[in-house]
Assembly symmetry: C2
Homo-oligomer: 136 residues x 2
DNA sequence: TCAATATGTTAGGCAAGCCTAACATATTGC
DNA sequence: GCAATATGTTAGGCTTGCCTAACATATTGA
């Protein structure tokens, strides 16, 4: 299920907006991603044709199970990566921005190793402050 | 100096081939990157127009100072990222592949934090084996 | 109610970065 | 020396993913 970066971004955005607003319209996605309305319209059409989203009669967009799975995987990786970066001392904003780009390119293997490393370190050597700019 | 991923890849590849072979021809780049000869020809023309590489009368390609700087930065980040991933337990091949993609998207801030974290951990808790597949 | 505004879609365009086919030129081996 | 092979270039094409302009439709407020 190796989707393009852009498709993952759309699906993750839909999930985020769904959590925030309940329902999701194309215009909401356009504002959130800072893309034009036609761009969203086209991409939603594509995601719909490929079975990742559905539109109801009110043009409300929802994730299919298949789409939701990808959205949630992407969302989780994004957040966990950002959490790891923040733990390493990266500022919150940069951590989220970098995580957002990197999540699309990191393999499952590397992601798992980073996560395991992080969890292990947090458990064993809890209170070592090794950088100036840690947030926690 | 925010170059495209693809330009960074070409420059890094030229540096690698230069280290390996002494001189670099378009065909060497094509084989290494698995792209067609015309593609390399076009991209070298572009990199040359933008002042990142030069061609001599034998069609040997060399990096300008400006090009070399980017190539070396990219190369170093690639290797250090891979080293960190391997240290975290990622297999050598995956570590290099992931590093190769991620190096183009990670910010200086996040990269520095990862590097500092790695160096600190190596220094303080040298012999803790936390995963099965560590290489060192 | 109906004009103004908001939202969605269609059509057409553009840049990046690949490709193949065809041609041009350089190198090599008999 | 010359045919075969290797390398480089030109021309034209394709996909992805964005854009604007223009139009279609829905919603809202005086």
């Amino acid at each position: 299920m190796n989707l393009q970066e852009s498709a993952e971004m759309y699906l993750e955005t839909i999930l985020i907006l769904e959590k925030k607003n309940g329902n999701v319209r194309a215009i909401d996605i356009a504002r959130h991603m800072q893309y034009s309305r036609p761009t969203i319209s086209q991409q939603i059409k594509r995601l719909s044709a490929d079975g990742f989203v559905e539109l109801d009669s009110n043009k409300h967009i929802s994730l299919t199970p298949k789409g939701r799975q990808i959205a949630e995987e992407t969302y989780n990786r994004h957040n966990i990566l950002a959490e790891i970066f923040i733990w390493m001392g990266v500022s919150e904003q940069t951590a989220f921005e970098d995580a957002c780009r990197i999540e699309h390119y990191i393999s499952a293997e590397t992601f798992d190793c980073m996560r395991r490393h992080y969890e292990y370190e947090r458990k064993t050597q809890k209170q070592v402050s090794k950088t100036d700019n840690r947030l926690d």
